[in-house]
Structures are given as C-alpha cells and as structure tokens.
C-alpha cells in the first residue's frame, strides 16, 4: 500500500513541476518579445498559412501551400515587406474543421501571426474565420467559395469568386452550351462547399427553365455511390452535376459510367486536381468543370506565373496554386500598403486594394468578395482543356 501511495505522490509532483515549468517558460517568452521592441524591426513578419496537405483534400493543400511559398519567396527576394523578411508559419488542417479551428487558434495565440492566409475548404475556413475575426487578425482564404465565409466578419476576405456565381456559371453552361434540360445532382451533405454549390446550381438551372430530375446527397466519406446514381439514372438525366471534391468526383464518374451513363458530368472547382484522373481514369473524359484559372490562358501574367511555377516545382500549377499565390500576394501587398502590421490597418488596406492577379483582377466588393470571371475546363484524354471564359 505504501509503495503505491509514494509512487502516486511522486508522479503527481512530477506533473505539477512540469506544468509549472511550461507556464513559467511561456510567460518569460512573451516578456522577452515585448522587451525587444528596439530590435522589432529586424524580426521577420509572421504570416499564418493554413491548408490541408494531408487527408481527403491533400492535393489542394499541396498546391495552395506551394502557391503561398512561391509568393513569399518572391517578396523576400525583393527585400521583404516594410523592410522585414516574411516568414510563414504553416499548419495542416487535414480538411477537418476541428483541426482548422485549432490551427487558427495556435497561429494567433501562440505564434502571434499578423495575418492568416487560408484555409482551403469552405468548412475549414468557416471554422477558422470566427477565431480570426474575434482576434482582429485579417484573414484571406484563397479558395473557399462558400458565401458564408466572408459573412463571418469584416476581417475576413477571399481571393476567389463565390458559389452563387459559380453555380450560375455552371447552370448557364449546362443549359446553353450543353443544351441539357434534365440534370441529376449528387452532392456531399457533410461539406458546406458541396451542399451550397449544389443549391445554387439547382436554383439557377430551374430559373433558366431546366429540370432537376434528381437531387441526391451522400454522407461524407462514402465510396459507394451506386445507390444514388441508380436513382439518378432512373430519371434519365442529360447531365449529372457533381460539385464535389476530387476524391469523390473520380469515383462518382467511374460508377456512373459503369452504370451506363455516357453523358457529360459537370462539376465545380473541386474537380481541379492531378489525382482526379488517377482515381477516375477514363471515366472523367467528357466531363466539364468551372474553375478560377486555366494554365492554357494566353495572358502574359498567367504564362509568366506558369513558367516560374514549373521551374520551381517541376509540375504545372492548378487553380489552387494560382489562388494561393494570389492570396499571399494580396495579403503582403496590403501589409505593405498599410505601412504597419496592425490588424486594423491591414484590414483597411485590404478593403481598398486593387490587384491584378494570376487568377484575374481582384477588387473587393462590400462583402469582401472579388468580382472575377470563371473558366470552363473540359477533360479530354485525361488532360484539362480550356473551353471558355464566363464573365460576371
């Protein structure tokens, strides 16, 4: 009995010392940084970067992170921002909103970043935005298209178009260009992006006079879509609309083809991934999706970006890389324009920014969303082919 009691006492003492120790070092850490005000100017500016480099949206995260890093390097090579080098503290949110919230909290409370660029999936941005807003840390998401993200507060911005526009673009393309009148929709009910985009598409397509013959949801993580697809195909749609992330889109296309559907499958910017063809194989040919950027664009800004990216990373950039690059550039430009790293100053600078990015001209409206064009991409023989640009 006595041995057990002494062991318990020892362990609890150890724990107390350990806890006390971390609290002490934590306190002294912050004391040190505030005492060094004189040398503050030489210290790097810390920017938080969030993206899902692992998990179900891994290719998005990898591309976006590479976009962030390339922009950062270019600024640092030209002397940094406000005469200081910029350093990114990166967190992987694994496309999980809980991880995203933790990432944002850590970046703001532990790392004391002056701004955050991220996250990528709308559900994660929605989890992180209230934290950034509460702490008055300016945040710009490169790729989250769900409108609710910027509604979280006036410190939240985005570099891409929003889903009401994307859904409309898709609906118009399907109705006018593909001449489809009956569409079956399949979407992930567990993600804000998918659910939102499906709704916007449906609203617009029906407004144009088309008919949504089936509207099937699936739980996040499903691999077997046969049931939903069977139900959709029973209603003989001309087109299937699948506004989902690439991992699901590949399987959906495959299973739809297996069930005998040969018509076009249309999706959103979530289709943009090098893994789409790996998973979907031949099934994703004769498919279209709306996107922010096409590397085949003849614009000099795009071509110069594509070349720099290919030289640096050995692969062609997708829309997420381009948006990551633009978002980081916008944030750093705003800090430079603001003349300080104060959150409110940066926010005001962002509100007034006028930036020509790789993905288009970016100027924020009153909801902090940019008005941008969308491109339609077709997949032919496993490659992305630019079809057309649709302006707002």
């Amino acid at each position: 009995m006595r041995k057990k009691k002494t062991l318990l006492l020892l362990v609890s003492l150890l724990l107390v010392v350990a806890l006390f120790g971390t609290v002490l070092t934590g306190c002294s850490g912050s004391k040190q940084s505030s005492n060094n005000n004189a040398t503050q100017e030489k210290k790097p500016i810390l920017i938080g970067g969030v993206a899902p480099v692992t998990g179900p949206a891994a290719t998005y995260g990898k591309s976006t992170k590479q976009g962030y890093e390339m922009a950062l390097e270019e600024w640092n090579a030209k002397g940094g921002v406000l005469g200081r080098q910029v350093k990114m503290i990166f967190e992987d949110d694994k496309a999980d909103p809980t991880e995203a919230a933790n990432a944002f909290s850590k970046l703001i409370n532990e790392n004391h970043v002056v701004a955050i660029v991220g996250s990528v999936t709308s559900s994660c941005s929605l989890a992180g935005a209230p934290i950034a807003q509460r702490n008055k840390v300016p945040m710009i998401t490169p790729t989250s298209t769900n409108p609710k993200v910027t509604e979280q507060g006036d410190y939240i911005f985005r570099a891409c178009f929003i889903d009401p526009f994307q859904g409309t673009v898709a609906a118009k393309f399907v109705y006018n260009n593909l001449k489809a009148r009956k569409v079956g929709v399949i979407y992930d009910i567990g993600q804000d992006y998918n659910t939102g985009l499906a709704e916007f598409f449906k609203k617009e397509f029906e407004k144009l006079g088309g008919q949504i013959v089936a509207y099937e949801g699936y739980p996040d993580g499903t691999t077997d879509f046969n049931t939903q697809l069977t139900k959709i195909l029973d209603n003989k749609p001309d087109v299937i609309y699948s506004p989902n992330y690439y991992n699901d889109d590949g399987l959906i296309a495959k299973q739809a083809r297996s069930l005998g559907f040969n018509g076009p499958i249309v999706g959103g910017d979530g289709w943009d991934s090098p893994d789409l063809v790996k998973i979907g194989g031949d099934a994703v040919n004769n498919c279209y999706f709306t996107n922010h950027f096409s590397k085949d664009s003849k614009s000099p800004i795009v071509q110069s970006f594509v070349k720099k990216y290919e030289d640096k990373y050995g692969e062609a950039p997708d829309a997420l890389a381009a948006l990551g690059y633009d978002a980081m550039n916008i944030m750093l430009t705003a800090i430079q324009n603001a003349g300080s790293t104060d959150g409110e100053a940066i926010k005001n600078a962002l509100m007034n920014i006028d930036y020509q990015g790789v993905t288009g001209h970016i100027k924020f409206d009153k909801d902090r969303n940019p008005i941008k064009s969308a491109v339609i991409i077709k997949i032919e023989n496993g490659k992305q082919v630019y079809v057309t640009t649709i302006n707002p």
Partner: protein, 302 residues
C-alpha cells in the same frame, strides 16, 4: 418509386452486403470465443487493402500482370498476420483480466494501426487510388435494365467462396469443432483437453484473413483507399454481426446482407436520411430481439 426496389439496387445491396459479411464474420468469431468486441477488426481490413495495393503495384512495376488469386492470398495473409500479432501482443496478456481492459486495448490497437499507417511514408495519411484496372480490366454486362460489372461478380464470388470455405472449416474440421466448443463453454473445452490459446490464435487468423480479403474486394470495387477506411465499414460490420446475433456465423452473414440492403434501400428512398434508416432498423430489431436474429436467448443464470 422506380429507382428504389429495382434489380440494380438489389445488385448494389448484394455487393455491399458481401463485403460487410466478410468483415463481420471475423467480429462474430472472436466475440464468440473470448467475448471481445475487437474494434481493430476494421483496421485488419485496411491492412489487407494496402497489402493488395502494394502487391499490385509491385507486379505492375515489374511489367507483369498481377494474378488476382495471388493478390488475394497476399491480402488475406496480411490481414491474418496483423490479427495474429494483435492477439498475441495486445489481447493475450489481458485474457483473464477485466473485459473492459481488453475492450479499451482493442480501441488502442485500432488507433495504433490507423495512425501508424498514416505516419509511415510509403502509406501516408491521404487517399490513394487503387490500381483497379491493372488488376482486373472492367467489363460490364446488362441484365434487363440493370448493369453488372465484372467487379461486382468477382466481389460476390470471392466472398461467397470464402464464406463456404469458412463454414466448412467450422462445421467439418477438428479445429472448427474446437472453435465451436470453446465458444460454447471455454472452461469445459479446456477440461476436454483443447488448447484454448491455439484455438484463439486460429480464430484471429481466420477472421483477419477474411477481413484482409474484404479489403482487396473493396479496393477492386471502390478504388480508393486510405488509412482510416476501416472505421466506418468496421462499425457497420459490427452492427451487422450484432443484428444477426453476435457469436453466430450464419447470423453475421444474414445481418450483413440485411444491413447492405437496408442501406441501399434507405438511401434510395431518401439519400440524406438513408443511413439513418438502416440504423433505425437495427434499433427496432434489437428492441424486439435483443439477442439478434439468429442469436441464442441467454437468460441470466441465477
């Protein structure tokens, strides 16, 4: 109403049910003998899928066409090995300790397998495309208004063959008899001279092998794998085993097909509530038949 109770959906249900059946047999066998709900069982399935993935990629890299039977044996062996090791390392030391400890350990083994796999560089935490067409190129057949792919045929065939083999082992071999005896009464079996630990080893090996096979079949039919793929199918297979009567192998098979159909038809009726309907059915069955459909009514012996 056409899209709900038609041939195509029935085919879908059979396909899903077969995969759940292979996994749930493992659950039920282990529970029958040592009364442990092995939460790590879904992860044996995941290991089998990855073993199949590497086997196929290895063949492809050597420009050889991978043989389905060999890949099947590899994934079954991988599942069996991981199951055997889990038993020896994690469960055996807790054999005569409180059951709760073993249960928590099972959860621990499950998490260990998942997170270690995602941390290993050659596996990684993200999704991978399973090389489906390199293993079996796709062919489709029409039956009336329904479409059948050769994947589904392979799926169901392998599953049924394995279930028949398993039933033969359990019913007509000495080891099978030992398994049934141990499940009925562990202490009496020991008194009869049966080496319980050997029987338990064998049970885990068999259960793990079936789970590994299920992993391969999943890779073939839904060509996308990731380290956490075993969580949900494992849970559903467990529910299927309980539904059919935990401890009963035919029960596990029956329960799995019922789960498969319930899921398919539930989703066909309303895709958002779909899975909820399947679980609602489970709850209803258990309220009226708490021992499951084919389970034995065990009263409390005073």
């Amino acid at each position: 109403m056409n899209g709900i109770f038609n041939l195509q959906q029935i085919i879908n249900g059979i396909q899903i049910g077969s995969i759940y059946a292979l996994i749930s047999i493992g659950y039920t066998l282990v529970y029958g003998i040592i009364k442990l709900i092995n939460f790590a069982h879904g992860d044996f399935y995941m290991v089998g899928a990855y073993a199949a993935y590497f086997a196929v990629m290895f063949s492809v890299a050597r420009k050889e066409h991978p043989n389905v039977i060999i890949v099947l044996i590899i994934s079954m062996t991988a599942g069996a090995i991981v199951a055997f090791l889990s038993n020896r390392i994690a469960y055996k030391p807790l054999r005569y300790k409180p059951r709760l400890s073993a249960l928590i350990t099972a959860i621990g083994v499950s998490m260990f397998l998942e997170y270690t796999s995602s941390a290993l560089p050659f596996i990684g935490p993200s999704f991978r495309a399973f090389p489906q067409s390199q293993l079996i190129p796709e062919k489709t057949y029409r039956i009336g208004s329904a479409v059948l792919t050769n994947y589904q045929i392979v799926n169901v065939t392998i599953a049924v063959v394995l279930m028949v083999v398993l039933t033969y082992i359990v019913q007509h071999t000495r080891m099978g008899m030992a398994m049934r005896a141990s499940a009925q009464d562990k202490d009496a079996a020991r008194l009869m001279g049966i080496d319980i630990e050997k029987v338990i080893d064998f049970t885990f090996i068999v259960g793990g092998a079936l789970a590994g096979a299920a992993g391969l079949l999943t890779g073939i039919t839904y060509p996308r794998i990731n380290p956490y793929m075993g969580i949900i199918p494992g849970l559903k297979a467990f529910i299927a085993a309980v539904l059919g009567g935990i401890g009963s192998v035919p029960g596990a098979m029956l329960g799995s097909y019922i789960m498969g159909f319930a899921e398919v038809f539930g989703t066909a009726i309303n895709s958002i509530l779909g899975e909820g309907i399947a679980y609602a059915i489970l709850i209803l069955v258990l309220i009226f038949l708490p021992q499951g459909l084919l389970g034995k009514k065990t009263g409390e012996k005073v």
